[in-house]
């Protein structure tokens, strides 16, 4: 719990330094060979998503253009089904679980011929907000859903 509090406070105070950090991180060219391990290992809720999206995740706006379907209550945190769909041309989707040890869960990048839809099953350590980000042209939109977890799915 102490660690959580520390993280939260460090995220609040560290926003500026984190913002500076984005510029320094190498731009991810998502070829099959590259895997942004740093982004997936990031411990705060937005920096990983910002890295893979190439935009500041904190600046994303809630929008009806993206829909996130997730259960209100998940009895088993090891298998939480989520479904994301977007309305319009979408380059990339990123899924974040705020309170997981490593919040960035999965991403999807789309080329011509693929619509902006993604579904999968994810693990959640505890009750948390699930946030789906979508990069649509030059705007970044998000949708949030809270999932209550009665048994965690990370370690243990």
């Amino acid at each position: 719990m102490k660690r959580r509090l520390f993280l939260k406070s460090s995220v609040a105070t560290g926003t500026l330094t984190a913002a500076a950090g984005y510029g320094l991180l190498p731009i991810q060219t998502a070829s099959a060979a590259s895997y942004p391990s740093d982004a997936f290992a990031a411990e705060d809720a937005t920096s990983g998503a910002s890295t893979v999206l190439g935009m500041d995740a904190a600046s994303a706006t809630e929008s009806d253009d993206i829909k996130l379907k997730a259960p209100e209550v998940a009895e088993n945190g090891a298998v939480v089904p989520i479904k994301i769909s977007t309305n319009g041309a979408t380059e990339m989707i990123a899924v974040v679980v705020e309170k997981n040890p490593a919040p960035l869960v999965m991403t999807a990048k789309f080329s011509d011929g693929a619509s902006g839809a993604l579904s999968g099953r994810i693990k959640m350590g505890q009750t948390s907000n699930v946030i789906a980000y979508a990069k649509m042209g030059d705007k970044l939109v998000k949708a949030t859903a809270e999932v209550k977890v009665t048994a965690g799915g990370c370690g243990g």
Partner: protein
């Protein structure tokens, strides 16, 4: 590990469902018998192609459930198109599967 790919026609385009039998270990879990930490073992990249051209790529992490079922939607498929998926995990194992649109 086995990979299954399935195509479902939808109102808009086709859904591509990919089911991989994979442990997706987080690296946080300890083995109850030995007390040792089970090393992380998870799928990192998953690439979707139509007739050999990549149309979508998903990246997964430890926080994706074991035996992941991943679904995307493709809009421009026609009969005879070959849809393939290939994945790679953090230990370098990879596998692929393909199916032809009827």
């Amino acid at each position: 590990m086995t990979t299954k790919i399935k195509v479902k026609a939808k109102d808009v385009g086709h859904d591509i469902l990919v089911l991989v039998k994979h442990p997706m270990e987080t690296g946080l879990r300890t083995d109850a018998k030995t007390g040792e930490v089970v090393p992380a073992h998870y799928i990192t990249n998953m690439a979707f192609s139509v007739n050999g051209t990549q149309v979508a790529e998903t990246m997964l992490s430890q926080a994706v459930s074991a035996n992941p079922l991943t679904t995307i939607n493709l809009t421009d498929l026609k009969a005879g198109d070959v849809v393939s998926v290939s994945w790679e995990d953090n230990t370098g194992t990879s596998e692929s599967a393909e199916t032809t649109i009827k």
